[in-house]
Amino acid sequence: GPKVLQIPSHQIIDMGQMVTLNCDPVSNHLYFYWYKQILGQQMEFLVNFYNGKVMEKSKLFKDQFSVERPDGSYFTLKIQPTALEDSAVYFCASSFQPSNERLFFGHGTKLSVL
Protein backbone atom coordinates (compact mmCIF):
# COMPACT_ATOMS: atom_id res chain seq x y z
CA GLY A 1 0.00 0.00 0.00
CA PRO A 2 0.96 3.67 0.01
CA LYS A 3 3.91 4.44 2.22
CA VAL A 4 5.15 7.44 4.11
CA LEU A 5 8.92 7.42 4.56
CA GLN A 6 10.70 9.14 7.41
CA ILE A 7 14.38 9.92 7.52
CA PRO A 8 16.27 9.31 9.73
CA SER A 9 14.79 6.59 11.93
CA HIS A 10 16.82 7.77 14.90
CA GLN A 11 18.56 11.06 15.57
CA ILE A 12 20.73 11.88 18.57
CA ILE A 13 21.71 15.49 19.16
CA ASP A 14 22.92 17.77 21.90
CA MET A 15 20.53 20.17 23.54
CA GLY A 16 20.52 23.55 21.82
CA GLN A 17 21.37 22.18 18.41
CA MET A 18 19.08 22.36 15.41
CA VAL A 19 17.48 19.24 14.00
CA THR A 20 15.47 18.63 10.84
CA LEU A 21 13.19 15.62 10.55
CA ASN A 22 12.32 14.60 7.02
CA CYS A 23 9.17 13.04 5.67
CA ASP A 24 8.39 11.79 2.19
CA PRO A 25 4.57 11.63 2.08
CA VAL A 26 2.40 9.54 -0.22
CA SER A 27 2.82 11.00 -3.68
CA ASN A 28 -0.70 12.29 -4.41
CA HIS A 29 -1.54 13.36 -0.88
CA LEU A 30 -2.23 17.00 -0.18
CA TYR A 31 -2.40 17.22 3.63
CA PHE A 32 0.53 16.60 5.91
CA TYR A 33 0.81 16.20 9.66
CA TRP A 34 3.28 15.78 12.48
CA TYR A 35 2.47 13.94 15.69
CA LYS A 36 4.66 13.58 18.77
CA GLN A 37 4.74 10.53 21.00
CA ILE A 38 6.64 10.50 24.28
CA LEU A 39 7.51 7.00 25.46
CA GLY A 40 4.52 5.29 27.04
CA GLN A 41 2.11 8.06 26.15
CA GLN A 42 -0.34 8.73 23.34
CA MET A 43 0.46 10.32 20.02
CA GLU A 44 -0.28 14.02 20.20
CA PHE A 45 -1.09 16.30 17.30
CA LEU A 46 1.51 18.95 16.55
CA VAL A 47 0.60 20.56 13.25
CA ASN A 48 -1.03 20.08 9.88
CA PHE A 49 0.01 21.63 6.60
CA TYR A 50 -1.75 22.20 3.30
CA ASN A 51 -0.96 24.18 0.21
CA GLY A 52 2.23 25.55 1.66
CA LYS A 53 0.64 26.74 4.90
CA VAL A 54 0.13 25.64 8.47
CA MET A 55 -3.62 25.11 8.84
CA GLU A 56 -3.78 24.19 12.51
CA LYS A 57 -1.28 23.70 15.32
CA SER A 58 -1.42 22.61 18.93
CA LYS A 59 0.13 24.18 22.01
CA LEU A 60 2.91 21.57 21.70
CA PHE A 61 4.04 23.29 18.51
CA LYS A 62 6.40 25.72 20.18
CA ASP A 63 7.95 28.78 18.60
CA GLN A 64 11.12 26.76 18.12
CA PHE A 65 9.26 24.46 15.71
CA SER A 66 8.71 25.11 12.03
CA VAL A 67 7.46 23.09 9.08
CA GLU A 68 7.81 23.46 5.37
CA ARG A 69 7.66 21.54 2.12
CA PRO A 70 9.79 23.44 -0.37
CA ASP A 71 8.94 22.69 -4.01
CA GLY A 72 7.08 19.47 -3.27
CA SER A 73 10.10 17.78 -1.77
CA TYR A 74 10.34 16.47 1.77
CA PHE A 75 7.88 17.72 4.35
CA THR A 76 10.16 18.79 7.18
CA LEU A 77 9.90 19.52 10.88
CA LYS A 78 12.68 21.74 12.14
CA ILE A 79 13.40 22.32 15.80
CA GLN A 80 15.78 25.16 16.61
CA PRO A 81 17.03 25.14 19.29
CA THR A 82 16.21 21.73 20.72
CA ALA A 83 15.38 21.14 24.39
CA LEU A 84 15.50 17.99 26.51
CA GLU A 85 11.69 17.73 26.49
CA ASP A 86 11.74 17.45 22.70
CA SER A 87 12.97 13.87 23.06
CA ALA A 88 10.19 11.73 21.60
CA VAL A 89 9.17 9.78 18.52
CA TYR A 90 7.87 12.07 15.81
CA PHE A 91 5.40 10.59 13.36
CA CYS A 92 4.70 12.11 10.00
CA ALA A 93 1.39 11.39 8.30
CA SER A 94 -0.34 12.35 5.09
CA SER A 95 -3.83 12.16 3.65
CA PHE A 96 -5.61 12.94 0.43
CA GLN A 97 -8.54 14.64 2.12
CA PRO A 98 -8.58 16.98 5.12
CA SER A 99 -11.05 15.05 7.23
CA ASN A 100 -8.52 12.53 8.45
CA GLU A 101 -10.66 9.75 7.03
CA ARG A 102 -7.51 7.81 6.48
CA LEU A 103 -4.14 8.92 7.65
CA PHE A 104 -1.05 7.14 6.41
CA PHE A 105 1.73 7.21 8.96
CA GLY A 106 5.46 6.83 8.66
CA HIS A 107 7.49 4.62 10.99
CA GLY A 108 8.50 7.58 13.07
CA THR A 109 11.80 9.29 13.87
CA LYS A 110 13.09 8.76 17.38
CA LEU A 111 14.70 12.00 18.52
CA SER A 112 17.02 11.85 21.51
CA VAL A 113 18.15 15.20 22.87
CA LEU A 114 21.08 14.89 25.27
Binding site: Y33, Y35, Q42, M43, N48, N100, R102, L103, F104, F105
Partner: protein, 113 residues
Protein backbone atom coordinates in the same frame (compact mmCIF):
# COMPACT_ATOMS: atom_id res chain seq x y z
CA UNK B 1 -6.42 16.79 30.22
CA UNK B 2 -6.82 13.53 28.37
CA UNK B 3 -9.73 13.74 25.98
CA UNK B 4 -9.63 10.13 24.82
CA UNK B 5 -9.05 7.37 27.34
CA UNK B 6 -8.45 3.71 26.71
CA UNK B 7 -8.61 0.67 28.93
CA UNK B 8 -7.09 -1.65 29.75
CA UNK B 9 -3.53 -0.53 29.17
CA UNK B 10 -2.62 -4.09 28.29
CA UNK B 11 -4.65 -7.20 27.60
CA UNK B 12 -3.77 -10.85 27.13
CA UNK B 13 -6.22 -13.33 25.66
CA UNK B 14 -5.99 -16.90 24.42
CA UNK B 15 -6.20 -17.67 20.75
CA UNK B 16 -9.86 -18.01 19.76
CA UNK B 17 -11.19 -15.79 22.56
CA UNK B 18 -12.84 -12.42 22.09
CA UNK B 19 -10.72 -9.42 23.03
CA UNK B 20 -12.58 -6.30 24.18
CA UNK B 21 -10.80 -2.95 24.09
CA UNK B 22 -12.51 0.06 25.63
CA UNK B 23 -12.43 3.74 24.78
CA UNK B 24 -14.19 6.81 26.17
CA UNK B 25 -14.14 10.46 25.23
CA UNK B 26 -15.16 13.82 26.61
CA UNK B 27 -15.72 16.20 23.73
CA UNK B 28 -19.28 16.05 22.37
CA UNK B 29 -18.15 17.60 19.10
CA UNK B 30 -16.16 14.50 18.17
CA UNK B 31 -17.90 12.89 15.20
CA UNK B 32 -15.43 10.43 13.76
CA UNK B 33 -13.75 7.60 15.67
CA UNK B 34 -11.03 5.58 13.95
CA UNK B 35 -9.06 2.76 15.50
CA UNK B 36 -5.44 2.43 14.47
CA UNK B 37 -3.24 -0.55 15.13
CA UNK B 38 0.50 -0.64 15.36
CA UNK B 39 2.69 -3.72 15.15
CA UNK B 40 6.20 -3.64 16.64
CA UNK B 41 8.59 -1.65 14.46
CA UNK B 42 5.73 -0.70 12.13
CA UNK B 43 3.80 2.51 11.60
CA UNK B 44 0.23 2.96 12.89
CA UNK B 45 -2.37 1.95 10.32
CA UNK B 46 -6.11 2.48 10.11
CA UNK B 47 -8.01 -0.63 11.16
CA UNK B 48 -11.67 0.37 11.33
CA UNK B 49 -13.68 3.52 12.00
CA UNK B 50 -17.20 4.62 12.97
CA UNK B 51 -19.33 7.75 12.85
CA UNK B 52 -22.04 8.47 15.47
CA UNK B 53 -24.85 7.91 12.98
CA UNK B 54 -24.23 4.22 13.63
CA UNK B 55 -23.89 2.35 16.91
CA UNK B 56 -22.10 -0.59 15.33
CA UNK B 57 -19.53 -1.09 12.63
CA UNK B 58 -18.33 -4.51 11.60
CA UNK B 59 -15.41 -5.59 9.45
CA UNK B 60 -14.69 -9.28 9.56
CA UNK B 61 -13.61 -10.24 13.08
CA UNK B 62 -13.44 -6.60 14.17
CA UNK B 63 -16.52 -4.78 15.48
CA UNK B 64 -16.90 -1.33 17.00
CA UNK B 65 -19.78 -0.80 19.42
CA UNK B 66 -20.64 2.85 20.00
CA UNK B 67 -22.68 4.43 22.80
CA UNK B 68 -23.14 8.11 22.08
CA UNK B 69 -25.07 8.86 25.27
CA UNK B 70 -22.30 7.49 27.49
CA UNK B 71 -19.51 8.69 25.16
CA UNK B 72 -18.04 5.22 25.06
CA UNK B 73 -17.00 2.82 22.40
CA UNK B 74 -15.37 -0.56 22.32
CA UNK B 75 -13.51 -2.67 19.82
CA UNK B 76 -14.32 -6.37 19.86
CA UNK B 77 -11.98 -8.82 18.20
CA UNK B 78 -13.61 -12.21 17.87
CA UNK B 79 -11.65 -15.43 17.36
CA UNK B 80 -8.45 -13.63 18.29
CA UNK B 81 -5.31 -14.74 16.47
CA UNK B 82 -1.63 -14.39 17.47
CA UNK B 83 -1.24 -12.12 14.46
CA UNK B 84 -3.64 -9.67 16.11
CA UNK B 85 -1.03 -8.94 18.78
CA UNK B 86 -0.39 -5.20 18.49
CA UNK B 87 -1.06 -1.88 20.14
CA UNK B 88 -4.53 -0.53 19.37
CA UNK B 89 -5.18 3.20 19.45
CA UNK B 90 -8.63 4.70 19.72
CA UNK B 91 -8.81 8.17 18.20
CA UNK B 92 -11.40 10.90 17.78
CA UNK B 93 -11.92 13.82 15.47
CA UNK B 94 -14.22 16.80 15.38
CA UNK B 95 -14.74 17.63 11.72
CA UNK B 96 -14.88 21.30 12.58
CA UNK B 97 -11.27 21.11 13.76
CA UNK B 98 -10.13 20.51 10.20
CA UNK B 99 -7.94 17.53 10.84
CA UNK B 100 -6.77 17.26 14.43
CA UNK B 101 -7.00 13.62 15.50
CA UNK B 102 -6.90 13.04 19.25
CA UNK B 103 -5.44 9.68 20.24
CA UNK B 104 -5.82 7.56 23.33
CA UNK B 105 -2.81 6.02 25.05
CA UNK B 106 -3.35 2.67 23.41
CA UNK B 107 -4.04 -0.87 24.53
CA UNK B 108 -1.32 -3.44 24.05
CA UNK B 109 -2.95 -6.72 23.06
CA UNK B 110 -1.20 -10.07 23.28
CA UNK B 111 -2.89 -13.15 21.86
CA UNK B 112 -1.38 -16.33 23.23
CA UNK B 113 -1.49 -19.50 21.10
Amino acid sequence: QQQVRQSPQSLTVWEGETAILNCSYEDSTFDYFPWYWQFPRESPALLIAIRPVSNKKEDGRFTIFFNKREKKLSLHITDSQPGDSATYFCAALASSSFSKLVFGQGTSLSVVP
